[in-house]
């Protein structure tokens, strides 16, 4: 599109310029934050990320040894426990993060897409956890599959997404959904960096800043 022009470099150059303009290094990895960012509620996003990492690593170890390993090995059972509890922590932190962002009306100031991607992450995480329960290969899986099929069949999804098919669910659980969740999470985090930390409700631009636009009252509602 804009391969020619002052900078050149073809599509690649245009992409690089766009990316660095949107997220210059000190905006992507800043070493300072607005002073109003001073509450423990801010740490739940990063805690969610940390838990996701541990979910992926423990799930990766389970994948290394295959789906039946944890039923017949003490080590396997422990790794499965790591996977379970990191998921519980992941959902725990994500929900507290969601509550926090809701009460901060964190979608203000062109941050709606950040909120939307966050909610989609939450929904995809629920789906990923659900498929995990389906591929445990135990009584719990049998029962959950038998129940869940009715919900999914009733709206036509079950015809394509068969919770009674272990192979299909395993693929969704260890490939498709984690990939989607990872991509959405990366997008969500990049959006946070792109727009910066949302200022307090009713905050106005500090007067002393030279090039600031006219003070704008934000509107949460």
């Amino acid at each position: 599109m804009s391969g020619e022009g002052a900078a050149g470099g073809g599509w690649t150059g245009a992409l690089r310029r766009r990316a660095t303009r949107a997220l210059p290094p000190d905006k992507l990895l800043p070493d300072a934050q607005p002073a109003y960012m001073a509450s423990w509620i801010y740490v739940f996003g990063v805690l969610t990320l940390a838990a996701l990492m541990i979910v992926l690593v423990s799930g990766g170890v389970l994948a290394l040894k295959g789906p039946a390993w944890w039923h017949v090995s003490g080590t396997g059972r422990y790794v499965n426990s790591l996977h379970l509890w990191s998921v519980e922590l992941f959902m725990f932190f994500m929900v507290v993060h969601l509550w926090g962002k809701f009460f901060m009306a964190a979608w203000r100031g062109r941050r709606a897409l950040t909120w939307v991607t966050g909610v989609v992450c939450f929904l995809v995480a629920i789906g990923t956890a659900f498929t995990g329960y389906l591929v445990q290969q135990n009584f719990d899986s049998q029962w959950i599959a038998g129940q869940a099929k009715d919900g999914l069949n009733s709206v036509g999804i079950g015809a394509f997404f068969n919770v009674l098919d272990f192979g299909q669910m395993l693929m969704w659980h260890i490939l498709l959904l984690p990939f989607a969740l990872g991509a959405l999470t990366a997008w969500h985090v990049l959006l946070v960096r792109l727009r910066g930390i949302v200022p307090p409700i009713d905050a106005t631009t500090p007067p002393a800043t030279p090039p600031a636009p006219a003070a704008t009252r934000e509107a949460a509602g």
Binding site: P30, D31, A32, Q33, P34, Y36, M37, S39, L47, A50, I54, W70, R77, Y78, S81, L82, L84, W85, E88, F103, M104, A105, W107, R108, G109, W115, V116, V119, V120, L123, Y133, N138, F139, Q142, W143, G146, Q147, G151, N153, S154, V155, G156, A159, F160, N162, L164, D165, G167, G196, V198, P199, P200, I201, A203, T209, P211, A212, T216, E218, A220
Partner: protein, 318 residues
């Protein structure tokens, strides 16, 4: 700054006073904390793993239920046999949301013929004692109406006998067929036959799981573990482990009217949850809902330092 087209609804955070904040350090500490918590919780509590039910364990533990279920599979009256899409065509079985049936729209894509898939084919694939061969011949030769009369009479007799040997009646070959099926199941052969379906590698448990779900054995085990739909079971886990607590709202609808007694509960609740999920996603655009944070004033707590300093500033200027 250059590319701003619209008036923003919040000031630019870059215009505010800053303080040092080490994101990488924060992430490292968070990772260490979560790793320690995970390692500790896993070591202290382990994880649940209740053994699966097999057709063999079912037939051994509750032969009466297995036999009764097998008769309904053969007679085409079991839950699966009358399920409708995606397993078979059963008039009026599909759920609807108002006039719309997405279940019907998706069609029959995982065809299950319970008489053949669950009973007759496994019997034919196993070594056949002469009595079973004769029973299979009689069954195949009979008209569908006659077959249904046999299975229905035998179902009634079994129910009346309540676990004991049923009274004599005109059951045709049905008792021989289901007795042999139970024998195969107890020996563990039926598990293999239902899973293999003519192939060697196998990853699809649709048929054995449907068969298991049609009986009441699996259900009674689930009830004991508080996993049934009417026990808020969707969010529960076996034993004393926490489950999918995040499904609280989804499982909640099943406990109340009009869903509780509706034949379309699954579809209706799906529709409600889809709408609510969309609502959560679109909170920033929903008037009233997007103003809740301002009204609840929880933000005054979160940013209390900022608001306090602003008040001091204002006081100084005044």
């Amino acid at each position: 700054m250059k590319r701003r087209h619209r008036r923003p609804s919040a000031p630019d955070p870059a215009a505010f006073p800053t303080r040092t904040y080490d994101l990488l350090k924060e992430f490292t500490i968070a990772s260490a904390v979560v790793a320690l918590l995970t390692v500790g919780l896993a070591a202290v509590f382990s994880s649940p793993d209740v053994k699966p039910v097999t057709l063999a364990s079912w037939a051994r533990a509750d032969g009466t239920d297995f036999t009764a279920t097998a008769v309904t599979e053969l007679g085409g009256t079991s839950t699966t046999a009358t399920y409708g899409p995606p397993y078979n065509h059963t008039p009026d079985a599909a759920q609807k949301i108002g006039p719309v049936s997405l279940q019907n729209a998706a069609g029959v894509r995982i065809r299950v013929d319970t008489a053949n898939d669950f009973v007759l084919r496994p019997l034919r694939q196993a070594p056949e004692p002469p009595a079973v061969t004769a029973a299979l011949t009689t069954w195949t030769a009979a008209a569908p109406a006659r077959q249904r009369a046999w299975t229905s009479a035998y179902s009634d007799a079994l129910a009346k006998a309540n676990g004991a040997a049923p009274a004599r009646g005109d059951f045709g070959p049905v008792p021989v067929l289901v007795a042999r099926l139970r024998e195969l199941a107890r020996a563990g052969a039926l598990d293999g036959q239902l899973q293999a379906q003519g192939t060697f590698y196998q990853t699809d448990y649709t048929r054995p799981l449907l068969f298991l779900s049609d009986g009441s054995h699996l259900e009674s085990l689930a009830r004991a573990q508080h996993l049934k739909g009417d026990q808020w079971g969707m969010m529960n886990e076996t034993g004393n482990y926490p489950g999918q607590a995040w499904l609280w709202l989804y499982t909640f609808w099943y406990q109340i009217e009009p869903f509780k007694s509706s034949g379309n509960a699954d579809a209706l609740i799906w529709a409600v949850m889809a709408l609510l999920s969309l609502g959560l996603m679109l909170v920033p655009f929903i008037p009233g809902v997007r103003s809740l944070p301002r009204w609840t004033r929880v933000h005054r707590l979160i940013w209390r330092t900022y608001y306090r300093e602003q008040a001091v500033e204002r006081g100084r200027r005044a």
